[in-house]
């Protein structure tokens, strides 16, 4: 029955929709027929014709109204009305281009910012990692926990061997290490970003090769025939996408490798830049035998199905404790840290992204509040129109629908504009390739983002359209026409509430922006410990087979004297590691005044660099005490070391460190017979920010002459050449390259970057978030100002008559201005107070992003309040000025 009732009317409805004219005529005829009959009857009862007619129409409650109700009863109205509303809405917007433009731009900015943020978050955080079983991939590292301090370490080769034997949670468990390789035997040598990986690392990722196969276990073993896998990019760019690449031989670091496969571009492990993979098994012989050596290995595991991350974590905890009991000297305080690969990828940016998302949501909210405000103001002037339409028979739902249609139209256009804007912004973001955002190159506007934008536009239309529409349409029912003016001004008392909301939202954003600006400024002014300006660095890798230990020392010695002779070079040096590049060599270090017992080591870790004598001058690291190295500090002279100020203070407080001794290398293999290699401290230098700008330096730093490298550097290290110049440092690169080629053309020069670039790299993420937050804050402030201005000037125009009377009664212009500004100030003050508390409450969320400034920094709050004050003065002053200029006579003529 119910179904029938639904189905039966359909033909009639369709008929009505497509034959509107006929249906309308039919309706008119029917009602006219009725009226005529009624009149006849009334006349027959003895009424006059006029009276009879009036009675008949009255009984009908008005003909037009009856018609409207009949139309509604026919139920085709909805679709028809929608089209009509759309038409009407578009006409209204065309007639108010100022309002429409302002609304569309405001919405476009709000929706655009949200769309862009959502695309970033969708790609970086929501989309699963591009592996077949992303949820089961975990990374493992080791942590040394001493005296409440935690130091993250790479994985010890010996520990890893035990993990593999004991752990049951993993389907695959493998290790990897970044290993850049030089491709030769083609027209020009190329330094490739490469990785040595266990076969199981590739199995764990589960990515199928484009061509060929991945490594088999036999290839991942010492003494196996060298095999390599290529990236799609390398295969296309250097091998012209040769289909027969598999089984061809390529030369990497002077050794022949057989290509076994090509990975598709979706292979992004260990990094999206990796171009070549070689089996780690080939290098097993070079892996350290001592358990406390953590040679930069990372570990990737694929959990067995149905094993949770927590289960695996507790198993690894047990294994780590067992190893600790077995080898207390090295492992008593070493724990395993197991994190999902997703967590590992995302944890660095999550906080920033969420804070920014919060900020853009605030911007959108302010935009909505503002629009609601504007719509309401405009609606109040339209009360007359609404009252008229309602008297002509439009129902409230009909009026609501029409107003909502107008806001939907605005939201749709604003959404389209926002989408365009987001597209441009994302393109710029992706083009700038910020290294701090993982998977940034994959960010794009896809179907999910489109869906998000549509939803957002709908939500926005409701948010800023529904409330004003309800307000406006509820007015008219109890309004007689002459009451319109007073009723409208009565309603406008609600609107200051919107200003309060706007101001407090804007305040939160502005405070965040101010704190981020202070953070950025603090970061930019961090005492680096070196001076980055006019310094160029480049890395050099000597082919191992040609260079034994004395030979590489003399190579660099020769190179340095050649570089010194170049014009405009002020200082030059080499070092095994440079600041802010990432990575470094770490060890325990024993000063001469503590017992030499490695099992009870309580001291700080030490970051080591092997450097030439000129390195300190080239990098601009100030010498505080003693001397730096000279050419006399050679392999045959007594071992020496330069330490940083923190080491000096930690080891020998209030004593002269020069002439004291430290040890960090041991010729003996046992605790009973450590045979330490003592080095004499010859100098103290300024502490350098080696890893990043923000962490408190708990470690100490040590520099040794490269002619006396630490024992673990006996195998040839990659050295960085550091050159300080009087001219822009990029200009010397080519001549330095020429000098290297003159010494040995087979030596690749790579990673050519200025120190300023490294500093900028570290500042990139804070710079990005500060920039975005500041622009969002400014946007919010502007929107809020427009809001204040709108409310006040509307109020002034509504009260022209009142102001005129006040003037006529003797109020001075200053008094009028004060009067209007006081009215404007009230919601602003309330909003600011709420804003301060809201900021204080929400600052807990961004505390993690702050540096060098407290989340309750008084100066930031005060300056935001000051800015707010100035903007408010302007936004309230302009309408007040206009009010003061109102002439009493004009005011009386008003309306």
């Amino acid at each position: 029955m119910r179904a029938l009732r639904w189905v039966c009317p359909i033909p009639l409805r369709l008929y009505a929709l497509f034959h509107r004219g006929a249906v309308e005529r039919d309706l008119a005829d029917e009602l006219r027929d009725h009226i005529e009959r009624e009149i006849e009857e009334n006349v027959a009862r003895g009424m006059t014709l006029v009276e009879a007619r009036r009675k008949a129409i009255l009984a009908m409650d008005g003909i037009e109204r009856s018609k409207e109700e009949c139309r509604e009863a026919r139920g085709v109205r909805l679709l028809e009305d929608l089209l009509q509303d759309l038409h009407y809405g578009a006409r209204m917007l065309r007639k108010n281009p100022g309002y429409a433009a302002l609304a569309i731009i405001t919405l476009g900015l709000g929706i655009g910012a949200n769309t862009a943020s959502f695309s970033v978050i969708n790609t970086v955080m929501l989309r699963p990692l591009p592996y077949p079983s992303p949820d089961r991939l975990v990374t493992l590292s080791e942590v040394a926990r001493q005296r409440g301090r935690e130091e993250s370490m790479s994985v010890s080769w010996q520990d890893y061997q035990d993990w593999r034997k004991q752990a049951k949670s993993f389907q695959y468990l493998g290790v990897f290490r970044g290993q850049n390789l030089t491709l030769t035997g083609m027209e020009h040598a190329e330094r490739l970003v490469g990785a040595m990986v266990s076969a199981d690392v590739l199995n764990a990722t589960g990515i199928r090769p484009l061509l060929g196969r991945t490594f088999v276990n036999e290839e991942d073993a010492p003494g196996a025939a060298p095999a390599a896998m290529l990236s799609e990019r390398l295969w296309r760019s250097r091998f012209a996408a040769a289909p027969d690449i598999v089984n061809q031989t390529i030369t990497l670091d002077g050794k022949a490798y057989s290509v076994v496969g090509v990975f598709p571009a979706s292979m992004r492990f260990p990094s999206s830049l990796t171009d070549v993979w070689v089996p780690l098994g080939l290098y097993v012989k070079s892996m350290p035998r001592d358990r406390d050596n953590h040679p930069g290995l990372g570990t990737l595991g694929l959990l067995n199905p149905h094993v949770s991350v927590d289960q695996a974590r507790s198993e690894m905890g047990t294994i780590a404790r067992r190893i600790g009991q077995q080898f207390p000297e090295t492992n008593s305080s070493v724990e395993v840290q197991l994190t999902s690969l997703y967590e590992n990828t995302v944890s660095g940016v999550r906080k920033t992204l969420l804070v920014l998302l919060g900020a853009v949501v605030f911007v959108l909210l302010i935009a909505c509040v503002n629009l609601a405000n504007m719509t309401l103001a405009r609606g109040e002037t339209r009360v007359r129109e609404m009252a008229m339409r309602s008297a002509l028979g439009a129902s409230r739902s009909r009026l609501l629908r029409q107003l909502l249609m107008e806001s939907s139209l605005l939201a749709a256009i604003g959404g389209a504009l926002g989408l365009a804007w987001a597209w441009v912004a994302l393109k710029a973001l992706v083009a700038s390739r910020p290294s701090s955002i993982p998977r940034v190159d994959l960010i794009r506007i896809d179907i999910q983002v489109l869906g998000f934008t549509c939803l957002l536009a709908v939500a926005v239309a409701l948010l800023f359209g529904l409330w004003p529409a309800l307000q406006i349409t509820s007015l008219k029912s109890r309004l007689a026409f002459q009451e319109l003016g007073t009723a409208a001004s009565h309603r406008s008392r609600l609107r200051p509430l919107l200003v309060v909301a706007e101001i407090s939202l804007a305040m939160v954003l502005l405070v965040s922006a101010a704190l981020m600006l202070r953070t950025f400024s603090a970061l930019s002014h961090v005492e680096l410990g070196f001076s980055p300006e006019h310094v160029i660095t480049m890395r050099l890798n000597l082919p191992g087979r040609n260079y034994s230990n004395p030979q590489w020392v003399s190579f660099y010695h020769n190179l340095l004297s050649r570089v010194e002779a170049l014009p405009a070079v002020q200082a030059q040096g080499v070092s095994s590691s440079t600041p802010l590049v990432g990575g470094g060599s770490e060890s325990n270090i024993f000063p001469d005044n503590v017992p030499l017992d490695p099992t009870k080591y309580q001291g700080p870790g030490c970051t080591f660099s092997a450097v030439s004598s000129g390195y300190f001058a080239a990098m601009g690291i100030p010498l505080l005490k003693g001397r730096t190295f000279t050419d006399h500090d050679s392999s045959t002279s007594p071992p020496v070391i330069v330490i940083d100020e923190v080491a000096a203070r930690t080891f020998w407080p209030d004593q002269n460190p020069i002439g004291r001794r430290v040890a960090f290398e041991f010729a003996g293999r046992t605790v009973q017979d450590p045979r330490p290699v003592w080095r004499e401290v010859v100098g103290v230098v300024r502490t350098v920010h080696h890893y990043d700008l923000t962490s408190n330096i708990s470690r100490v730093q040590g520099y040794v002459p490269y002619a006396q490298p630490p024992m673990w550097f006996q195998t040839l290290p990659v050295m960085t050449l550091v050159v300080r110049t009087a001219i822009p440092p990029e200009k010397v690169v080519n001549s330095v390259r020429d000098e290297v080629a003159a010494l040995d053309p087979a030596v690749p020069v790579f990673s050519v970057r200025t120190m300023t670039e490294y500093v900028d790299g570290v500042l990139e993420q804070p710079k990005l978030s500060t920039g975005l937050m500041t622009s969002f804050g400014t946007l919010a402030l502007l929107l809020a100002a427009v809001g204040i201005y709108g409310v006040l000037s509307y109020s002034v125009s509504q009260r022209t008559r009142e102001i005129g009377i006040r003037t006529a009664l003797g109020a001075s212009r200053a008094e009028i201005m004060r009067f209007i500004m006081r009215e404007g100030a009230r919601p602003i003050i309330v909003g600011a107070i709420i804003g301060v508390f809201a900021s204080l409450a929400s600052m807990r969320l961004i505390r993690g992003l702050l540096y060098g400034v407290s989340a309750t920094d008084r100066a930031s709050y005060l300056s935001v309040l000051a800015i707010l004050l100035v903007i408010s003065l302007i936004a309230t002053g302009l309408p007040a000025l206009r009010a003061a200029k109102i002439e009493p006579l004009d005011a009386l003529r008003h309306e």
């Binding site: 027929d33 009959r37 009908m60 129902s395």
Partner: protein
Amino acid sequence: MSKPTDLVQGTLDLLILKVVALRPLNGWAIGKRLRQTSDDTLQVSDGSLYPALHKLEQQGVLRAEWKTTDTGRRAKFYSLTRLGRRHLEKETGNWDRISTAISRVLRLKEV
């Protein structure tokens, strides 16, 4: 826009169906018949009669066609469809049950 309805919601529909069930009538006659048969107790305003007629036509319980009356005038006549007849039977049954029940309750006396 409240309609002055003196009738219980939905009852107007039932009355219309019943009046039309006897023979096809035009809108004016339906209103008149309703007033007459109820001795002017049921005041159906013409303003709510026509929307109700159009709604019932939409629902498929009434059929409308233009006919010429005995006096030679054209008018729109409403008649019951098969669906309408079934609907009327069912609703009449409902009405009887409810009104009997209500009457019983109202005739309750203290014991």
